[in-house]
Structures are given as structure tokens and as C-alpha cells.
């Protein structure tokens, strides 16, 4: 994801147009990433906020089969199948080794699903583990590896297209990718979306909770041959879907007033990323600590703002911008989901709306993958194998100074890289990543970011088990803590969610 933003940044600075094949390859890699990421997010992180794994132990496999068959044609839906899953789960829970599930909020009264829906979701949790591994093979085929496929170049891609070569993308590989895309789409259409629609009605109150800012930003993504984006760029302010403001990246600026950085001209300033500074200035307590002083600096994230306003980014922002722009593929799906749940568009401004939007855009992208692949196959049939524009490969062709902006809509949301090149070298480089927008601390005016705003007013039944907080935070798909992997042999909690009574 960062790879595509970084090469686009330099391409923007140097005025490089990439060949159409490279554009399609980038769409294919990013597209399957959306589908895989969103399904993993739903089943392996977010579902556990809504699905009580231990509740599945009380499910009747016959009734579970009836439920599954009533919502989908997915073949793994027999009573025997669900009985086998239930038996495995029962054995697992009874094994009691170091208290499996001990660190969850299982049995919490905020779980509302009937046992059968819980069992169905557990079965799909397990199925998704194999499915996600298979479909992401597309990254290995097109980019040699996953994560972090290695094929992005300034000017295009390095993977070669050649029907006569065994190592290049040829007819066999196109056929394999097609098979994986079919598999990806089937799971989305027959498992993910039906499950989302089956779970949501039990949690309708979450269509009125976790709203947040009401301001949304999307850079847009998935360009077609004419440069039109599948998910358009734009800004929505104050929930007003009738007015889509055009995006102007020069209106983005970052504050460090409440962040552990310092700016040369003082910490109340805001800086566009081209002029950005990253000078760490930790002023917080020495860990481990109980509280942070939120009236001072309290975060390692800067506070990006658009035209001095806090913004939410991510699937909900993309879907709302596409909806406001009247994009038919998106609008039809959004309206169908709203009708199915019996709610109006205002329900989108919520925790449930965020989770539904992620599913909606997954279905949209999964539906596009094969047509993008067809486009590539047609171009190859016409003997167009060009994947790279090397006109500016030699730094001698570059201007003395150049500035560029590389955008990408990562699965989590708007990702921007800004580069300033002087004398053929990088003079400044700044990234503003999706979770920096959403999890941003306050700015110089005290305006909160999306997470903070979304948590205001969230009722919490049991402060010791704040599952309600997790539901909203997870709905944003936070990117954090991929850093620490120490095994705690004492079985001690490694993640603790604290809520402060004054919040």
C-alpha cells in the first residue's frame, strides 16, 4: 500500500504517466488486498465484538443449517457440517489449557445474537482462514510475495507480461488469477455479505451510535483507462450528502500541538506535508503509566486537518463520497442494504454504518476484479505488453527541484505520501496514513479526531468490560501495535482497554 503511494508521489513530482497495463496491475493488487483485508477484519477481529463464541456452544446444528440455507447458497451449510464445527469448538473450550478465550468478554450481556447465528459465524471464521490464504496468492503471482509485493517501480511495474514466457504473466497465470478472483467473489457474495446482513438487525441501536465527526475525506482509487476513479475523491462536510466538495490536497496540514513532536516555528503552527517536520519531542510520563495528560501532548500521531477541519477516512468515507457523487455501482448496493435493514441513509453515520460500508465496498471491488483482469487480457491479446515508462529513469532528465503527492486509498482509508526532490535527492518526505486521520489527537483549536469524537456518548454497561468502546474503535479498522510480539508466559493480559470515568 505504501509502495503504490510512494511511486505515485515521485511520478507526480516528475510528471510521469504510467502505461495502462501498469494501472491495471496496480488495481488488481490493491483490489484483492481490499477484499482479503476486509474479510479478515470482519471475521478475525470485528466479528468477535458481535459474535459470542461461547454462545455457539448452545446452538442446534439443524437450526443453524436452516438459518444458513435461508440466507445463502453457500454449500457448507448442512447440519452435519455445523455439528462438526460445534464439536470442535466444544472440545477446544473444554480443553481448558491456559483458559482459551480467557481474555475475551464472552458471555457479556451486550451480545445479542441467537446461538445459531453465533455458530454460523464461528464456522465462517474458520473457513475464512483458508480462503484468505488462497486468494492472496494473487500477490505472489503479480508481486512475488505477500505482504509487501515487490513489483512497484516509478513509471510502472516490474512484473513482465509475455504469453511466451513461463516466468512472466502468461495465459496460465491469467487463468489462475481468474480462478482466485472467482473464489474471492463467491465468498464475499455468499458468506461475508449474507453474514453481515444477518448480524446487523440484532444490533440496530449501533446505527445510532459511534457517529463521530460527520466530515469525510477520500482521495479516490481504482482509475480506469479514462482516469475516472471507481471510488471518486471528495470531501463531505457536516453529514451533507447533497454537496460533494472537490478535494484539494494543498488544504491538508498537520498540527503537533498535542503530539510528541516539535515544530521549528512553534507547536501551534500547522504544516502542509511538503513543508512537514518530524522532530520527536516526548514529554509524556515514563512507562508504565496510568494516565496521559490530554491537555498537553499525549500522542505519537500528528493531527492532520483538511481546511482546518478534522476528517474521517476509510470505507465509510469512500462509500459516502461515491454515494454523494451518484456512482451507480455503489448507490445501488447502499440503497439495497439500507432497504434490507429498514433504515435511512442517516444510519450510515454510525458504527454499524462504518461496518456495513466496509462490506459494501468489498462487494463492489470483488465485482470489478474480473473485469479488470479481462481488460489486461484483451490488451495482451492486442500485443500490448508495456508495463513501464522509462522516459524519466535517468535522474539527468529531472528538474532541479520537484514536488509530488502520491495518493492511495488503502483498505483502511486515505494514504498520502509527499515528496520534495532537490538536485535528484529527497529533501523532505512525509506520510499521512489513514489511522493518523482517524486516531488523531486534538489540534491547536482543541478539535478532536474521529475516534475521540465517535466515542462521545457511547453507553458502557460494564466499565470493566467495555465491549461497546471496542465495537466503535474496531469499526475504524485501527492500524497499530503490529510491533510487539513478546510471548507472555504468565498469560497476563497484553492489551488492556481502560476507560476514564470523565470521558
Amino acid at each position: 500500500m505504501h509502495a503504490v503511494a510512494s511511486v505515485r508521489g515521485v511520478e507526480d513530482a516528475l510528471g510521469i504517466r504510467i502505461p495502462d497495463n501498469a494501472r491495471i496491475l496496480r488495481n488488481l493488487i490493491a483490489g484483492i488486498q481490499y477484499v482479503q483485508d476486509h474479510v479478515i477484519h470482519f471475521y478475525h477481529l470485528h466479528a468477535l465484538d458481535w459474535v459470542d463464541v461461547t454462545g455457539a456452544l448452545r446452538a442446534d446444528p439443524v437450526a443453524t443449517a436452516q438459518l444458513a440455507q435461508s440466507i445463502s447458497d453457500w454449500p457448507n451449510s448442512s447440519a452435519d457440517y455445523f455439528k462438526a464445527v460445534k464439536d470442535k469448538l466444544t472440545a477446544f473450550v473444554q480443553s481448558g489449557q491456559l483458559g482459551p478465550f480467557a481474555n475475551g468478554y464472552w458471555g457479556h450481556p451486550a451480545y445479542k445474537l441467537p446461538p445459531e447465528a453465533n455458530l454460523m459465524a464461528v464456522a465462517h471464521y474458520l473457513e475464512a482462514l483458508d480462503w484468505q490464504r488462497d486468494v492472496i496468492r494473487v500477490h505472489a503471482i503479480l508481486g512475488s510475495k505477500n505482504p509487501h509485493p515487490q513489483t512497484y517501480l516509478v513509471g510502472g511495474m516490474s512484473i513482465t507480461l509475455d504469453p511466451d514466457s513461463e516466468t512472466a504473466i502468461n495465459a496460465d497465470k491469467l487463468a489462475l488469477i481468474r480462478k482466485l478472483f472467482v473464489k474471492a467473489k463467491q465468498f464475499v457474495d455468499q458468506v461475508y455479505i449474507p453474514d453481515l446482513l444477518a448480524v446487523a438487525p440484532f444490533y440496530k441501536e449501533w446505527a445510532g451510535l459511534g457517529e463521530g465527526l460527520g466530515n469525510f475525506l477520500a482521495y479516490g482509487e481504482f482509475p480506469d483507462a479514462a482516469g475516472t476513479l471507481l471510488f471518486p475523491s471528495g470531501i463531505i462536510l457536516n453529514r451533507d450528502l447533497s454537496t460533494l466538495h472537490p478535494l484539494d490536497h494543498t488544504k491538508i496540514a498537520e498540527y503537533v500541538t498535542h503530539s510528541w513532536y516539535r515544530y521549528g516555528e512553534g507547536d501551534t503552527a500547522s504544516k502542509h506535508p511538503w513543508d512537514g517536520e518530524t522532530q520527536p519531542n516526548y514529554t509524556g510520563p515514563k512507562p508504565p503509566y496510568e494516565f496521559l495528560q490530554t491537555d498537553g501532548k499525549y500522542s505519537w500521531l500528528k493531527a492532520p486537518r483538511y481546511d482546518d477541519k478534522a476528517m474521517e477516512v476509510g470505507p465509510l468515507a469512500r462509500v459516502l463520497v461515491a454515494y454523494a457523487a451518484g456512482r451507480p455501482e455503489v448507490k445501488a448496493l447502499v440503497d439495497a442494504v439500507l432497504a434490507k435493514l429498514g433504515v435511512g441513509p442517516e444510519a450510515l453515520f454510525s458504527t454499524l454504518g462504518r461496518t456495513a460500508a466496509r462490506g459494501i465496498e468489498t462487494a463492489v471491488v470483488a465485482g470489478k476484479l474480473i473485469s479488470w483482469l479481462d481488460e489486461l487480457a484483451t490488451r495482451m491479446a492486442d500485443k500490448d505488453f508495456k508495463v513501464h515508462n522509462g522516459e524519466k529513469w535517468d535522474p539527468a532528465t529531472w528538474p532541479k527541484e520537484a514536488k509530488g503527492w502520491g495518493f492511495h486509498e488503502a483498505p483502511r482509508g486515505a494514504l498520502g505520501h509527499w515528496v520534495h526532490i532537490v538536485d535528484g535527492k529527497i529533501a523532505n518526505y512525509q506520510c499521512v496514513v489513514p489511522s493518523t486521520w482517524n486516531a488523531s489527537p486534538r489540534d491547536a483549536k482543541g478539535q478532536p479526531g474521529a475516534y475521540e469524537a465517535a466515542l462521545i456518548g457511547t453507553p458502557v454497561q460494564d466499565p470493566e468490560q467495555p465491549i461497546e468502546i471496542l465495537r466503535t474503535i474496531h469499526s475504524f479498522d485501527p492500524c497499530m501495535a503490529c510491533a510487539v510480539h513478546v510471548v507472555d508466559a504468565r498469560g497476563r493480559e497484553l492489551t488492556r482497554i481502560r476507560i476514564d470515568g470523565s470521558m
Binding site: 470442535k88 492500524c479 513478546v486 497484553l494
Partner: protein, 178 residues
């Protein structure tokens, strides 16, 4: 005999947090393994490693382990002693070893034998170097790894002209013979 997986885990950007990865890198540099043995730098991949773990009969994990003992203490956990649970987390990036093992157990594909050899970390902070305390334990850690493998009948060959590696094997051999 089935497949053996030696899996180093951790983040090498956080000093001692990366000791497991450093150890398997060292192992792969110094020794040649038979085809049924895979030495894998698992980094911070979490759930992406599920299938590697499930496809092996024996899994030897090398990682930093918090036990509350003094930094540098070597730790050995077997089977159920290795924490396996599906717990609260903020981000899917946090899916770690415990989730991986829990998922594998839930799927009924838990490896036949599982051993974790670890070191109590001293410094987990940004940086590429191990702390002096943990670095000083690297050879002892590799000896433990080789001893576990020997117990499973896995005998790597020292790379040619690596006298240090041969010494390590000799040391392990003597300890095994005791």
C-alpha cells in the same frame, strides 16, 4: 518422520523483541538442514503463519518471552504451556502467536509437538541491536535450539569452514551424551 518447522518470531526494529528472528537467521547462516526441515523468519506476520505451523508435525518456536525472570534468562515451554487464546485486541496487526495457536487448535490441526525456546528480553525499544545481555545469550540460545532439534532426530550440518558452528554442534553433542 514428518516435517519440522523452526520458526523465529519478533520485530527486529525493536531490539530484543527480534531475538527469535536473529536466532533463526544465525541458524540458517551457520547450518544446512535436510529438506524436511524449514527454518523460517516469521517476523511479525501473526495469522499469516497459520498454515506453516499446521503443515508441520513438529514446531520449534524461538521468541522473546516475558516470564518475569531476569533479562537473558532462557525459557523452554512445551505444548500447552505456550499460551493459546483468542483475546481482546485493538487491531488485526496484533494477532500474535496466541491467536495463531488457538486457531490451529480450534481447526484440529495443532502440531503434534510444539516447543518454544525463548529469552527474557532486556530492552524493547527502537533499534536494530540486541541488548548486551541478550546478545551474550545468543550462543546458549542456539545450543538450546540445536538440542531440541537433536531430540527430534534433526541433525543439521555445519556449513563448511564454520569452525564456530562445528564447536556448537560438538558442545550440544556432549550435553546430549551426558
Amino acid at each position: 518422520m514428518g516435517k519440522t518447522l523452526v520458526l523465529g518470531l519478533g520485530n527486529i526494529l525493536l531490539r530484543d523483541e527480534g531475538v527469535g528472528v536473529r536466532a533463526v537467521q544465525r541458524l540458517a547462516e551457520r547450518f544446512d538442514f535436510a529438506d524436511d526441515v524449514q527454518v523460517l523468519d516469521g517476523g511479525t506476520l501473526g495469522l499469516d503463519l497459520l498454515h506453516y505451523v499446521e503443515e508441520a508435525d513438529r514446531v520449534l518456536i524461538v521468541d522473546a518471552v516475558a516470564t518475569g525472570n531476569p533479562p537473558g534468562t532462557l525459557v523452554r515451554l512445551i505444548g500447552d504451556e505456550v499460551p493459546a487464546f483468542l483475546g481482546i485486541k485493538i487491531s488485526p496487526h496484533q494477532m500474535g502467536l496466541a491467536d495463531l495457536l488457538a486457531a490451529s487448535r480450534l481447526r484440529g490441526r495443532f502440531p503434534r509437538e510444539l516447543v518454544l525456546v525463548g529469552v527474557e528480553p532486556e530492552i524493547i525499544d527502537t533499534g536494530l541491536e540486541l541488548s548486551p545481555t541478550v546478545a551474550a545469550q545468543m550462543d546458549a540460545l542456539l545450543d538450546r535450539v540445536l538440542a531440541e532439534l537433536a531430540r527430534w532426530g534433526v541433525h543439521p550440518r555445519a556449513r563448511r569452514r564454520d569452525a564456530q558452528a562445528e564447536n556448537r554442534l560438538a558442545t550440544v553433542g556432549r550435553e546430549e551424551g551426558r
